[in-house]
């Protein structure tokens, strides 16, 4: 599976703590000794933002951080470009601890390494769409001709050709967020931070934007850190899924794996409502090749939904699982049906290789 770790993660968070309050550093020890959020607030009037966060984010992957509102997602993503300063811990970008950067170097990091897309778009209302998209380059002092060509290129890429001279207030929410994405792409950074970038949009437009993001990602292979409170969105986008609760990581890993092996009642709750047939992929539930006879071939990356419609609902079928033209396993429709029921209500264990 995709768990083989490359040499160095693009972004790495080590032992990160964030406590809001005047004497936050003194509170770290209390939290390390197991004090919880409510007690800390009651006894010491400090808000526990994040505790002991350790995440590696691989280059070219979409890391999705998911959690309910107030679980600390925004706080976490703002540590990556130090819009929020940690109470304790390390943040490594390309192996370099960004806590050591002075103000000028930090600005360069923000200008050249990370672009950000915001939930409420955060466009400059007094600038045109084009000027908004040019902003990251003009901040860097790039010459105006380059600014304009780059901005126009990315605006076109996100489908906003012809809207360059409009003002943000003249566009719909979905289009404004396209400007937000174009702005982040114009910055031409390796890393893109997206804080609930699609949460403010209508469901249909949200799906469009997710598709747009996946399509761009296929081409650009950026390191994307994407925040969401929506499990469907998380499962659709994530290469690596991190689940936050009350400022702590409950589980992280390959999304299919989490879905099949929730390690915590909190996550079981989360995943029980999901349409598993649409989310789970054949490779996540297949078993080793043993049968001789197959009712057909299926791609390892297909969804179970696809296979169900292929089998016409016949649970006696067994399919051969193919990847890059090779047989990599088999899938018995009976196993498939079991995988559709959350673990809490069946005894079906992990089937992931």
């Amino acid at each position: 599976m995709t768990q083989d770790t490359p040499a160095q993660p693009k972004v790495s968070i080590r032992g990160l703590f964030k406590i809001f309050g005047p004497t936050d550093t003194e509170m770290v020890e209390l939290v390390q000794n197991g004090m919880d959020k409510a007690t800390l607030l009651e006894k010491h009037s400090h808000v526990l933002g994040l505790q002991d966060i350790n995440v590696d984010m691989q280059a070219g992957e979409i890391t999705v951080i998911m959690g309910l509102s107030g679980s600390g997602k925004s706080t976490l993503i703002r540590h990556l470009n130090r819009l929020i300063e940690p109470t304790a811990g390390e943040i490594l970008v390309d192996g370099q601890d960004i806590m050591g950067l002075d103000a000028a170097k930090l600005r360069r990091l923000r200008q050249e390494k990370m672009a950000m897309v915001f939930q409420k778009f955060a466009l400059l209302p007094h600038k045109t769409v084009l000027q908004n998209a040019e902003m990251p380059l003009s901040v860097r002092g790039v010459d105006t001709a380059t600014q304009t060509t780059e901005a126009r290129k990315w605006l076109k890429r996100v489908g906003l050709e012809g809207f360059e001279e409009r003002f943000p207030a003249q566009l719909s929410g979905g289009m404004q967020q396209r400007v937000g994405i174009a702005r982040a792409l114009t910055a031409n950074t390796d890393i893109m931070l997206m804080d609930e970038a699609f949460s403010a949009l209508d469901p249909l437009i949200r799906t469009d934007m997710q598709d747009l993001l996946l399509e761009l990602q296929k081409e650009l292979e950026k390191t994307i850190i994407f925040i969401t409170h929506d499990l469907d969105e998380a499962l659709k986008l994530a290469d690596h899924l991190v689940i936050l609760k009350d400022g702590a990581i409950v589980q992280q890993g390959e999304p299919q794996h989490i879905l099949l092996n929730p390690c915590d009642p909190y996550i079981e709750d989360f995943v029980s409502d999901i349409n598993r047939a649409r989310v789970l992929r054949v490779r996540s539930v297949m078993s080793a090749l043993t049968a001789e006879q197959f009712d057909g071939d299926i791609e390892a990356g297909s969804t179970l939904e696809r296979l169900i419609s292929m089998s016409d609902g016949d649970t006696n079928h067994v399919y051969r699982v193919m990847q890059d033209g090779e047989a990599v396993g088999q899938l018995d429709m009976k196993d498939l049906v079991k995988a559709l029921v959350p673990r809490s209500s069946s005894n079906e264990g992990a089937r992931v290789a």
Binding site: L83, R107, R110, F118, L124, V139, R140, F167, L193
Partner: protein, 344 residues
Amino acid sequence: MARYEEVFDALGLREWCDANKTDAPMSMAQLLAQTQGDDAAAETEGLPFPSLDVMHEACAAIGQTRDLTEGLEQGFLAIRGELKFVLDPVTQPLSWLLDGALFVFESAPWWLMIPALILVSWFVSKSRAVTAFVAIVLLFFSLIDHYDVAMQTLAIVFVCTGLSVVIGVPVGIGMSRSNTAQRLIVPLLDLLQTLPTFVYLIPLIFLFSVTESKLYGIAIILYAIVPVIRLTDLGIRLVDKDVIEAADAFGMTSRQKLTRVQLPLALPNIMAGVNQTIMMSLAMVVIASLVSAPGLGVLVLRGIRNLELGVGIVAGLGIVLLAVILDRVSKAALSRVDKQRNAH
């Protein structure tokens, strides 16, 4: 009367009290008693409040209230030389500006001035109705022979408003950046706004000669600068936190943030402040004419002094008309900025 004497005796302060007893001037109460007749003394039976004057009766070492006001005056006179030494050169450019503007507005021929002013209001407001209204008002002033005084008033208002913006906007920016600065400046602004305007004319008259234009210039600016400062501060503080965060996330320096984000987004508020500043400096023009400011205010004053009802009222209405055109022009500019941003 001497109820508090025992108190001082009991405290063993008698000697300190009588140490250098002289014939003190009359106290407030004595002064009143004298003017009201002899029987006033009987009213002070009972327990009087231990005010400075009452305690002075009992103990000569304690000063009277009139010492306080006198002390203030003496104190001011004592530092007057130094204050003048510092303030005179600093404020001198204000005199030049006012005299220069007055000279230009008075000496430019009407057939140049009126079209110029109409053009300016067109460029600022971009509104035909407003520009036409300005033209009518200007022609009306000329018709009733108030053109010269109206121009003098306009010259003063322009200079004072301009300087208020030049000084007020940076102060407002500073205030928006530091809560401490805000805490220190706000009471000062409250003071400037509530202190009766005549009151801060008093020290100014002591400091500068009434023939200098900066005297009324300072008075007008002190009074009119408040809204620019307040609304610059407010405007910057009200800028959308998300947009500021985006500016930070893309690595803007604080100067870039100020000029590209904060000031442009605060502009509607700042312009509302400028509008109020114009109105307030116009209101001050009448009071300023007490200290030799030329313009419509002088005619209002003449109306009061010589009981020339017509002169006073026409000049007063003239000020209203000026206020209306300045207000309309600046508001039109403001709504033009607003419209561009929220247009559909």
